[in-house]
Structure formats: C-alpha cells, structure tokens
C-alpha cells in the first residue's frame, strides 16, 4: 500500500496521464527494487519513489519537474552495495595478480602468457607474499577483500595505513616465517621486506583528498601523503617495511573519475620529484567514470539553470570551499557528478541530488557529511 501511495503521489506531482503512468511506473519500480531503495541514508520507511515524489515537488513548474526527472532517468549513476563488493572481489584476481605475474615473468625471463608456469613458481609465491595491502578508509572494504582472496595471508592485509612501530616488527617476522614455508625457498635477507605496496580505497571524484599541494605553504596533505613520507623518505617510520631497490607502489580505487586518476598520478609524480625519489608507481581504477558523464558549464543550459536555481547555499562549509568554487552548484570542486554511492552521496555530485535532509531543498539522495 505504501508503494501504491508513493506512486500515486508521484503521478500527481508530475500530472501524468494514464499512458505516462504506464510508461514510467515499471521502469521506476525496477530501478527502485534493483538499486535505489537500498540507499542507506534514506530515513526509515522512506524509499526511492517517495523521495523522488518529494524531491520533484520542490520544483516550481511542470517543465522544471520534467527536466529534473529526465536528469534522473538519463544521467544518474548509482553504485550499489553488491556492485561495489563485486569490484572489491575482482581487484586482486583481475588487476593485482596480473601485475605480480608480469613482475615475476620479467624476473624469470619467461613470457607473460605462461601463466601456469609463473604462478606455480617459487618466485611467484615469494612475490605474492611480499605484497602488502593497506586500506585507506572504511570504504576499502578490507574485510571483503580479505575473504575474497583466501590465498593471501592475514598478515599482509591491513585495515588501515596507520602501522605502529611494534607492529612493523611483527609483520616482518611473520613475513620471514611465511617465506621459509614456501617450497624451494632460498633465504635472502633482502626478501624480508615488502616490495609491493597496494593502497586500496573505494571512491574518488577529484583526487584531492588523496594528495594535494596546499597553495599557502606548498606542503602536501592528503591520505597518502603520510604513507609516502613514512615509506619512502629516509626518516620514514615505515622505511624498514620495504625494499626500496625493487619497490612497486600502487594506488587502487574501486570507483573513480578519470579526472581523479589523472590528478593522483600527476601529484604523486610531483611529490616524488620534489623528494628526489624514483620509485615505480601505478594508479588503477577498477570502475572508471569518464569525464563525459559529468555536468559542466558546457552542458545543456536548461539543466545548468535548474542546478543553479535550486542550489541551497546552506550546504557550503569550509571543506566545500577547498575545491573550485566558482560554480558551487556543480558540487565540490565543480566535479558535476550525477553519481550516488549506496552508502552516501559524495559531495562532488550535483548538490540538488544530495542536499542534506535538514536543508531547505532536500536532495533526492540526502547526504550525511563526514566533515564536522
């Protein structure tokens, strides 16, 4: 009955005819059942259809409502929980393991395609164990990653990149024991360290939260600044964990925009240049969001007009101003993303999608802010 009432409300808000209801209802119900109802920040009892009806009722004219509805129908990207878990579960077998296979193939001077030979080799077992996986946030879903890859040791997977000094010693000790258990392993002191570091996280739209150079004092800040400093600089407290001579650093994001990927690549390169470090690094994005999906100042004028008219300034705080701010109605750093993650809408997305529940203009998928 609740669904029925919500749909009726929606039909009234949109002034649909019988034919329009028949055209739209099946699709909306499928979208809601398949994905959108699972949005975790809906208040209890609220579903997608109700939220859509309330959201559309904010718009003053039927034409605006139709435009807003079209924006949702044709542009919205929703990453569901099961999709994200799928991305986590394929990260190692489809992205990381091929990289390790390639590394070992090079070391052994055998072709990349001799997969069975490579993975059955002692060198591969060593390489696999000498890889360290660090979660950069809760979103890294390290638990899922761990359970999806039972062939990896618990001792090489860390929930967070914060590693206390005592733990470093324990990790190296465990590494030594595990290497000695590999058949045909011949000990080398240089082996007792990690030579591949994989930093995992769920989402980035701008890349700024990972690493950026502050304009006021030219220093770096961001999630991976501390890791890079700790691992790669001479005074770094994590330096003993790694083998500098043969190190691969990898940032892996399950979902990210092309813009974020390019930013992270560029700024890491700059960081390394400034610190006089030349270590091999890669940035991988499992599900890349192309720039074309973003709403920009070159997009349809009517859509831009809608975004600007219904932009609620109460959502702006000092965190928001840290990105580009000339067109704040395009989201943080003007990313213009029409994207929702099942657990929370990022603030890089269009504000009319995520404005807080308490705001004057309540978003379709209201956001909970991490920044207080």
């Amino acid at each position: 009955m609740r669904d029925f009432l919500a749909e009726r409300l929606l039909a009234e808000v949109m002034s649909w005819s019988v034919e329009e209801v028949a055209d739209n209802r099946p699709t909306l119900q499928t979208l809601a059942a398949f994905k959108y109802d699972s949005y975790q920040q809906f208040s209890p009892g609220m579903g997608f259809i109700e939220s859509l009806a309330v959201w559309l009722s904010h718009f003053e004219t039927p034409k605006e409502r139709q435009q807003a509805y079209e924006l949702i129908r044709s542009h919205l990207i929703f990453i569901s929980g099961s999709e994200l878990i799928h991305l986590v579960s394929i990260t190692y077998p489809d992205y990381i393991r091929p990289l390790l296979i390639q590394n070992v193939a090079t070391k052994l001077s055998i072709p990349n395609h001799a997969i069975a030979k490579i993975i059955n080799s002692t060198e591969f077992q060593i390489q696999q164990r000498r890889s360290l996986f660090l979660g950069l946030s809760d979103g890294a879903n390290i638990g899922v990653f761990r359970r999806s890859n039972p062939q990896l040791s618990n001792e090489q997977i860390r929930l967070s990149h914060e590693i206390p000094g005592k733990r470093v010693e324990e990790m190296l000790s465990d590494l030594k024991k595990d290497l000695q258990n590999i058949p045909d392993y011949q000990a080398h002191n240089s082996d007792i360290s990690f030579n591949a570091i994989f930093m995992l996280d769920d989402f980035s739209a701008s890349g700024l939260s990972y690493l950026r150079k502050k304009t006021d004092n030219n220093s770096y800040s961001g999630k991976i600044n501390k890791i890079l400093t700790g691992l790669l600089t001479k005074q770094g407290e994590l330096r003993t964990l790694i083998d500098m001579k043969d190190l691969l650093l990898c940032v892996i994001l399950y979902v990210a925009t092309t813009k974020a990927k390019l930013h992270i690549q560029q700024v890491i390169q700059e960081w390394m240049y400034e610190h006089d470090i030349s270590t091999r690094f890669e940035v991988y994005v499992i599900q890349e969001i192309p720039n074309e999906v973003c709403i920009t100042d070159k997009s349809d004028a009517m859509v831009l007009g809608l975004l600007e008219k219904y932009f609620d300034e109460s959502i702006v705080d000092h965190h928001y101003k840290q990105g580009r701010f000339e067109q704040p109605y395009l989201g943080f750093d003007e990313c213009g993303l029409p994207l929702v993650l099942y657990h929370n809408t990022p603030n890089n997305s269009l504000p009319i999608l995520w404005s807080y529940e308490h705001s004057k203009f309540r978003g379709l998928f209201p956001r909970v802010s991490r920044h207080k």
Partner: protein, 642 residues
C-alpha cells in the same frame, strides 16, 4: 512472496515461487494436450520460447502435486486438481506419480570440451544424468511422503535391479535404504563435477562412466518403497530444455530413450530451435512406434474448437493473474477490455467513409453503362452509419470484381439481385478494408487478443501484460479501468513495435530475418488490399511447393545452391522463434501439397492484415531471395487503394 504489481510480468515457470502461487496461476486448460496421453510412449513436447513446456512439466513435480493435493478444497485449485485426477496422476489419498525433472541446461554441454574421446564423453554424460535422476527420485519420494531430508531417507528402500556389469564404484549398492543410495549418488556426482571443474583438460582416465540411462530401469514404480509399499503407482522422468544439450548429446539421449522400453514414462521438452531445417519445415504430428511429439502451438491452432479452447485457457490464466495484482482486485481482464465499438463515437468516421467511398465509386463507375442504372437508383437502407459504410465498401469491391471480369458478350447491366448475391461473401473483408482505411479500431477485445497470441502463452502474457499495465495505471490515478478499443490498439501497437525491433537482437541471423519478414508482410499487404479483394479476408502467408521445400533443406545442394540452404535456415529460424507458423495443406486440382508459412498474428497486426487464417500466395525461392537481398518490390501498378 508479496503480491506483484503486474502479475503478467511473472514469466518463467522457474521463477514463480512458491508452488501455491505457481499452481494458482496455472490454467487447468494447459493440461488439455495431455488428455489422450499414452503413458507408455515417450512424449516429446516442442514449442518456440514461451510455449509453456516448463510450466507443464513443473505441474507434475512432486512438490507441485503435493501442494495441489493440499489445496484441493480451495476453489482456485479445484479445477486443476480434478484435471490431474482425470489424468490418473492424483488419487484420493494423494499423488500417484513420482516424477523427476532434470534440466538439461545444467552444464552438460561443457562435457564436450573435455579432452577425452567421444565415447568417454558420452559415458560421463550418462553418469551425470543417472546420478541426478536418482537424487531427484529420492528427494521426490521424501516430498510425496512428507518426510524430512535427509533423515527421512532411511525410511525409503530401493530394490535391486540387474544392470549388467559396471565397475564397483559406478554401481549403486542395491538393495539399500535411501540414505545409502543418496550418499553414493552425491559422491559420484561430486567426483564427476570435480573432474570437470579442475581445468584439467584430460581428466582421470578411470572416469569412464555409464553407457546408458540405467536409472530409467532402476526407478520403475515398484522399486522405491516406504514401509513396504511402493511410493507411487507410476514413475515419470522429465528432461527439460533438451535443446541446451549439444547436438551430439541430444541425439544420443533421444536415441537411448527411444531404444528401450523403459518401465518408467519419459517426457522430453525442447525448443523448436533444436530441430534441423528439414524437421522444422516438415510440420505435422510426429508419431513413431516408440514416441509421440506434441508441438504445443500446432496443437492449439489445429482447428477452431482448439482455438476456442486456447482462448478460454489463456483467459482463465489472465483472470487468475489479475486476482494476484497488488493494487487492484476483482478486475477480470475480459471485463476491462471493451469488446465492441461505441458506434456513436465513431459515427463521424463512418460518415466520412460513406462520403469518400461513394464519391470514389461514382468517379470510377458512374459512366460505365453496366453500372450506371444501378448507381443512379442505389439507396442504402441500412439503419446505422456503420452499416451504410460497410455497404458502400462492399459495393465498391463487387464493382471492381465485375470490372475485372473478361466480357465475352455484350455488357449487361448489373442488377440489384446480382449485387446482393455477390455482396454476401465480401462483407467481412469490406468491413476490414473500411477499418484499415479510416483508422477505425479492429484489433481489440479478448478474442482478438487470444488470436494475436498465435497459440503461444508467453506471447499472450506479453500483450495482456501491457494492457494490464494500462488498467493498473488508470486505477492508480483514479481513472476508469476499462480500456477502449482505440487505446487497446495503441498499447498493442507499441508492444508489437518493441517485438519487431528486438528481432535482430534475439533471433539468429536476425537482420536477414527482419528483412525477409518485412518483405513477406509487405507482399501480403499488397495482395490483401487489391481492389477486387480476391483473397477474402486477406493474405497472411506464403506457400512453397514441396519441391522448393526440398531445395531449402537439401544439404547436398549446399555446393550448387548455398543460397537456398541459407534461405532454408532463415525460414527455420522464423519457425523456431514463432515468427512463422508452418502448415501443410492440400490445394488445387489436381491436389497438391503446399507448405504454407503463415505470419505470426502479431506480424499481421503490424502489417494491417486480418487475423484469420486461410489466405496465402505461392512464392518461388528466387523471389524470396530477391526480397532477402533487396527488400520487397511492388510487382505492378494495379492501383492499390491502400
């Protein structure tokens, strides 16, 4: 399961759970094809996708039968229960049948990829089928006796049967209790699956396996007992989706099933796509000594009595589904679809039709001495504008026919009596032409909806589902839930457009099928709308001589005429996917057998053709090939009216 918003969208039998919902939606009329079933003969059920095969088989599974028995006092299930009783499947104390349903869609085809010789692959196939049949039988026995799994297995006993010699690990440990047999079968199944899953392309050589479906011998009705009494009076093994096996596997299984008189009944269900072009282009009941084939669409479309029964069955299914709808109750489909035109609403159109047609007649025929006198005195005494319009259009067709006749003597004026005599056979087609020309709805009402389904239940549900969407949408916004003929046509046209556009994506060689069907439609339309309406009520198919049919299916002709073989493949695809309906008819003097390929009725609606069967035109292969490559070309300038 919560009530669905649009119950017509519940399609695949496998997806409708639980059993009580499935049975509630299952129309008892769907069992009609089984009324005269011979349980001692292998039955092969064939249809295009959506024909209802899997639903039919599912109705005979142990859990469905037990559920039906439990719900038998309920009026929603009583008809179905009585039908099952009449088939001998249900007794006073419960189900009489122990059935095993084996889906051939479950990873049998990958056995062909194993790097072992064909004989061994065959044995692995039989081994897997045997253990799964046995496991299914044991589970079924527990369900029939309401025993829990696995504890109840100890109470089931299986008798010994002589199989001949097998290695010890392949032979079941008979006689034994159910738990021992279950354990044995599970271990063997696991062993086989582990070998397949190992990515080792040369699995263990000792996995030789069984060389026949000996489980069919094992599971005779007296073999499985509970407390000393046989579980059921009859055993039935049902193989579903046989088309999912490879061609070799399918042939082997069918040959094995035919080769021996098993003590169990065996049913095979497969899609038409499994058949060769020769088999598809040779319609008619297949009856051999050892088997009977039942093409479901052919069964329902065989004669008018069966068609009426199909209409009744699908309407019953439709009304059961509407009862299940979440948001609307007590709106039977036949009540919501208006079955007659509101002539007042269409009176202006009929009036225009009268004016246009009468002017056309006068312009063309008034100066002809044969008709001058008649036309000058012609007065239509019909009461309604609709009847008047039909009369004018009838007159026009009769005059066209008369004009076309070769005059061997002096032109004799047409009399009123002659006109009346000639009109009677033409009025039906006249009304159809009228509706098409003046955009008056024709494809509406429950009977036409059933006709559009072309004996395919899934097709009916697709059309009915979109109409029902209109009904529940109207209910949502408090509008009347009856659908006018005009809206019915609009909704159906949209559904049909979607089906048409899906053809290149869903059918093998879809683009060529699209082009060929487009040409056949266009041709049918051209022939139908000739001014003389020679093919009353219209042309809805093409005919091929048996000689031409042979050219399409003659594999040896591939070297000399590969284009014919390809054409045969396309036409076979059309039949397999329910786009063309084949019928063998006897025609002409001397009588000649013709293979007529009728357009599916929804294609007829798309082309503006009548839904009746009957009218067809003989076509040569070279012409079909020209259509395939160049599309339809209008043959001449005979002044088509439409």
């Amino acid at each position: 399961m919560p009530d669905p918003r649009n119950p017509f969208k519940l399609r695949a039998a496998e997806q409708i759970t639980p059993d009580e919902t499935f049975l509630r939606l299952f129309g008892d009329g769907a069992l009609d094809p089984l009324i005269e079933i011979n349980w001692n003969t292998v039955q092969i059920f064939r249809s295009a996708p959506g024909g209802g095969k899997t639903s039919l088989l599912r109705a005979f599974t142990p859990s469905a039968l037990v559920t039906l028995y439990r719900f038998r006092p309920n009026e929603k299930y009583s008809d179905l229960y009585m039908k099952m009783k009449a088939l001998g499947v249900m007794g006073e104390d419960g189900p009489n049948l122990l059935s095993m349903m084996i889906s051939c869609a479950s990873n049998y085809a990958i056995l062909e990829d194993l790097d072992i010789d064909p004989a061994k692959k065959e044995r692995v196939l039989y081994s897997l089928l045997n253990v799964r049949i046995i496991l299914s039988a044991l589970r079924g026995a527990l369900i029939l006796k309401s025993l829990p799994y696995p504890e109840g297995l100890k109470s089931i006993q299986i008798q010994s049967v002589n199989f001949g010699s097998f290695p010890e690990w392949l032979s079941p440990p008979l006689p034994c209790s159910g738990n021992i047999l279950d354990d044995w079968a599970q271990k063997l199944e696991k062993r086989i699956c582990d070998a397949i899953d190992s990515f080792d392309l040369t699995p263990q050589v000792d996995l030789i396996g069984h060389d026949t479906l000996y489980s069919l011998q094992l599971l005779h009705p007296d073999a499985i007992t509970y407390q000393g009494i046989p579980i059921a009076k009859r055993s039935l093994v049902m193989f579903d989706d046989v088309h999912k096996l490879t061609e070799r596997q399918r042939r082997k299984v069918i040959d094995t099933v035919f080769s021996t008189r098993w003590p169990v009944s065996v049913w095979l269900a497969e899609r038409l796509e499994a058949l060769s072009p020769n088999e598809l282009l040779s319609p008619g009941a297949g009856v051999g000594r050892e088997y009977e084939t039942l093409a479901l669409a052919e069964y329902w479309g065989r004669d008018n009595k069966r068609k009426k029964r199909f209409e009744h069955t699908v309407l019953n299914i439709a009304n059961k589904r509407t009862e299940l709808a979440r948001d609307i109750k007590d709106v039977p489909l036949d009540g919501a679809l208006q079955s007659s035109l509101n002539t007042t609403e269409y009176e202006p159109k009929y009036k225009v039709a009268c004016q246009v047609i009468s002017q056309r007649i006068i312009k063309k025929f008034a100066s002809d001495d044969r008709y001058k006198s008649l036309l000058e005195t012609y007065v239509d005494i019909s009461e309604s504008m609709r009847d008047q319009a039909i009369s004018w259009r009838t007159l026009e067709i009769v005059l066209e026919r008369k004009s076309n006749q070769i005059q061997l003597s002096l032109p004799i004026p047409l009399t009123s009596d002659e006109l009346e005599r000639d009109s009677s056979s033409v009025q039906g087609v006249a009304e159809f032409f009228l509706m098409e020309e003046f955009n008056i709805p024709y494809y509406y009402g429950v009977s036409n909806l059933a006709e559009l389904a072309t004996s395919n239940i899934e097709q009916f549900l697709d059309f009915a589902g979109d109409l029902f969407e209109q009904i529940i949408s109207a209910a949502l916004i408090n509008k009347p839930t009856t659908i006018s003929p005009h809206v019915q046509e609009e909704v159906l046209s949209k559904t049909i457009r979607r089906r048409w556009e899906e053809i290149p994506m869903r059918i093998p060689d879809g683009h060529d099928v699209h082009r060929l069907l487009g040409a056949i439609k266009e041709y049918s339309r051209t022939e139908t709308y000739r001014p003389t309406a020679p093919y009353n009520p219209g042309v809805t198919g093409i005919g091929l001589t048996l000689e031409n049919r042979k050219k399409l299916t003659d594999r040896s002709g591939y070297m000399t005429h590969p284009e014919y073989v390809y054409l045969g493949k396309l036409l076979s695809n059309c039949i397999a996917y329910n786009l063309l309906e084949p019928r063998l008819i006897t025609h002409g003097k001397p009588p000649q057998t013709i293979l007529v390929l009728y357009l599916n009725r929804w294609l007829c609606m798309q082309a503006g053709l009548p839904l009746n069967y009957g009218g067809w035109r003989k076509i040569g292969l070279d012409r079909l090939l020209r259509w395939l490559h160049n599309g339809f070309e209008s043959p001449d300038n005979k002044g088509r009216l439409l």
